[in-house]
Subunit: 542 residues, 2 copies
């Protein structure tokens, strides 16, 4: 039961985590119910047609950046989005194509506001679990209903088929785009942080030896003792089961949509390029496949100038603190809010706090509450002294990119793992949101701001992270264009998908070799026994 | 014995293969016995000091290109070379530092000329084997004597120590540079095609599952049946033994030089960056580690204009053929030479033949013999119709880069593997140099030149190969500078070197799990037996 709960938590987390805490500004993005917008002119030497099937929430940021860039480079980019969504909408350089969904904006707002239940620590335990479970079920239903209303909209899919796209760019955590690509016979580019049951690695045929590749949610490093390796191996052995549970409904959708007995795992194994939003300044070194491209930090360069009203807040002598917990905040209970308010009252820095809930009365003068903050632009400002964050993957990269030490309150999904890694590198401090005290908060902030070790560490890590031959957006665009130009990446895909697991691990070969060795040993022993017996007989005769 | 012979063949092949068949012109490179040449001025933002310990022969090409580029970028680059060598010498943008060796240019010339024995098919078999063995032993002695005269030159090593370099760039197939790096406590950048016993992959901690990663010299692809997987697994199991044999003398040198009980494998595992001269247009897709960078084709962009006398040869209406077999040619027996001459007499194309042996009398008018040819510049010419080559790694990449179909006569080392891969992709034809006939040759050339399939295939492959975000030389230079700037790449090196093979494969964990399962099964069976017995007794009593 607990396992199932973790999985549900997780799929929710990848669905809507950090929905309002990342760089791009959702304000101007009101989804227009255009069917197909104007086609931008082409100026590039090669002009292709790209279909984009994005994911909502923070996952939208990276996909949108690539869609914009490809459009800017002269390709015709078509982004498929539901009629109503959290963040997705039109952009200057791409067309949008909307499909109807059986819910309204109000339903989404309710769902997002319920997300705050994740940090609640008041009330009886069973009651809280029930609320959380109810919320997670709602998120999962939302994801599947959205996917079904896209995939089983026959006229919409037929329309896509007629467009003769060159490739599909998608986020395979919700595999609608991958299924459409298979249906339309198109090559796929995936942009993702990772699939929690390691389905991405499995689909790409990438070895992940449990001896030095720690699994999601274990909190383990790449240096493990026997007990840790045992835990990691058990998790690795259970991963196929996790995957079945996570993609159980999508496997049914796949059968129905593709009209063939094919699993999501098989569909994903055809992916041409995996753009992974990871970076080895944070991840532990691990094997990769030739069609895996690292683009961690793709969101860091998406910068705009700060609005005028924020400029005066960030120009104080003592600098400022950026505080966002993504979509977790709106419903944060009052007793936790007051802990933060009391701590902020006692520090010289100004605080810019992304807070979409009911505004408390006793806000100190140095604190500015905003329903949305330009997080990346704020972190890029030289006055940023600390970043209070839930350690979502986008926020972590933005803090790293701009070298701002972090006070982390991980809540779900990959956040505890991200936070542990940052703390392990001496660039941040981890606290628990449900038990945090004013003293603990003050102590943490004091450490980050006044102990130069944190700033020095994150500056060094940031320099490593940013020192690369091609920036992540450029690299993502290059590989997307590559797939469009060459109609796939057959030469980069490993020949592992015709192998079953016995063949993959050469267990049949091992069995044969073991049998031969055994036979040899048995024969040798028998021979020796015979010789000894004969020798014994001879001696007796003598 | 045969195994040892293959290994010897192999180490020879990596030592001197293709010594005169690659792109850069050895003519102006007479090694000057300067101790330290003029220090070039620095203009770059970061100016470091790079020590380069190269390998002779064709291996020099890539290393020289990086040394030149780094010098051009404003770093102080010092290249260590022996007093006499086959190809190594000064360049415009780096200093050379020469060390004495106990042999002269004449000894090298004799060794190179003896290399032709590799293609000889006349005379009794045992006699030929003896000659080959004698030659290989000479090459191996030459390699070790050169290394010893560098490493045990105490004043030279002390001088290097005083220079306070930031990093060492080397070719680890001959690990002198790696040993110096360890002695001096410097980070290392390796440039190589691959170490035949997969020591590079092992040292970098890179998984190479034998189920889809074919081993050197097996001629297998990434799609294997049971028998092929059995062969591949056996070769993989024997690799550690091959490595021991290959590096046996160097392991002794390492102990003596470093004054510690450390093997070459352990020294190489500290390498910071592996610049691999491979590319997945030729190789089968396989896992890689984060500190492995693919720079196959690094030699293609090293182009100069063709000399005047060659221009008229290449401008004929029917185009021309480039014919080089590297250092194999000088001693090619007359009966093989005449096969080629007779074939060339019957074709309309002109032929530019790299031929350093005794010039035959009956050379047709359309054939030009030259002691050295600007191979890369010729292949880049639009008139090039076919490339007759021994399929060395540099030549293969030059043919691929400039999209010239290849007639291949692989002789040793990785050449049969290279040739098989090119033929498999339909861009060339493989023939055996010791059994080739005029008819076979004509047929092969006719196929390549007049069947458009070959040209189309290689044009498609070439387009794939050249479509990359950063050119190989730029990428090599970037990562060399990266190592110099950050004093290594700790964050990119996998944590596998503290694991023994039992831990690496989690065999201890597997044993524990198997024991638990076994115990569980035994207990269950015992319990059931007991229950059945009791039930039986009860029934009897009833």
């Amino acid at each position: 039961m607990k396992l199932l709960f973790v999985l549900l938590l997780l799929s929710m987390s990848v669905g809507v985590r950090g929905a309002a805490s990342v760089a791009d500004d959702p304000r101007p993005e009101k989804t227009e119910k255009t069917k197909v917008s104007a086609e931008p002119g082409s100026s590039a030497a090669f002009s292709g047609k790209l279909l984009v099937v994005p994911m909502d929430g923070s996952h939208w940021v990276g996909i949108k950046a690539i869609a914009q860039e490809l459009g800017r480079r002269g390709h015709r980019v078509t982004v498929v989005i539901p009629e109503v969504s959290m963040r997705m909408g039109p952009g200057k350089h791409y067309d949008t194509l909307t499909h109807p969904v059986p819910y309204g904006q109000a339903d989404i707002d309710v769902m997002v506001s319920m997300h705050g239940s994740m940090v609640r620590s008041d009330g009886p335990f069973m009651e809280r679990m029930k609320t959380k479970f109810h919320h997670i079920k709602r998120v999962i239903d939302f994801i599947h209903v959205t996917a079904e209303s896209l995939l089983f909209n026959d006229s919409f899919i037929s329309y896509l088929e007629q467009q003769e796209f060159d490739a599909v760019l998608t986020d395979p955590v919700i595999p609608s785009g991958s299924l459409i690509a298979r249906k339309l016979g198109l090559p796929t580019i995936n942009l993702l942080r990772g699939i929690p049951c390691s389905l991405d690695m499995k689909a790409a045929g990438c070895p992940s030896p449990p001896s030095f590749v720690p699994r999601f949610f274990t909190g383990l490093s790449d240096r493990m003792n026997f007990k840790e390796r045992l835990i990691n191996t058990l998790v690795a052995l259970l991963e196929p089961l996790f995957c079945r549970l996570l993609f159980w409904r999508f496997n049914n959708i796949a059968h129905k949509f593709l009209k063939e007995e094919v699993s999501v795992a098989e569909v994903l194994s055809e992916s041409d390029i995996w753009l992974l939003r990871i970076d080895f300044t944070l991840e532990f070194p691990r094997p990769l496949m030739p069609n895996m491209i690292l683009v961690g930090g793709i969101n860091c360069d998406l910068r705009k100038p700060l609005p005028q009203d924020l400029e005066q807040w960030v120009s104080g002598r003592h600098g400022f603190i950026v505080f966002t917990l993504g979509s977790m905040i709106p419903d944060m209970p009052e007793e936790i809010t007051s802990v933060f308010i009391e701590a902020f009252r006692q520090i010289p820095q100004t605080v810019i706090w992304r807070y979409a809930g009911k505004v408390p009365d006793n806000i100190p003068k140095n604190v500015k509450l905003m329903k949305w903050v330009p997080q990346n632009d704020l972190l890029a400002h030289p006055g940023a002294r600390a970043f209070i964050t839930h350690a979502g993957s986008h926020g972590t990269f933005e803090g790293l990119c701009h070298a701002v030490p972090m006070l982390m309150f991980p809540i779900a999904g990959d956040q505890p793992d991200n936070a542990a890694k940052m703390a392990n590198r001496g660039v941040g401090v981890v606290l628990d949101i449900s038990t945090v005290t004013t003293e603990g908060l003050l102590q943490g902030l004091n450490e980050l701001i006044n102990n130069t070790r944190y700033k020095e560490n994150i500056q060094r890590l940031s320099a490593l992270h940013k020192d690369r031959p091609v920036d992540p957006l450029g690299l993502s665009s290059f590989w997307t264009e590559f797939v469009m130009r060459h109609k796939g990446t057959k030469h980069l895909k490993a020949a592992v998908h015709d192998l079953n697991w016995i063949q993959y691990y050469c267990l049949d070969v091992a069995a044969l070799l073991a049998a031969i060795v055994l036979l040899f040993v048995i024969l040798t022993v028998k021979c020796m026994k015979l010789c000894l017996q004969k020798l014994g007989k001879k001696k007796k005769q003598d």
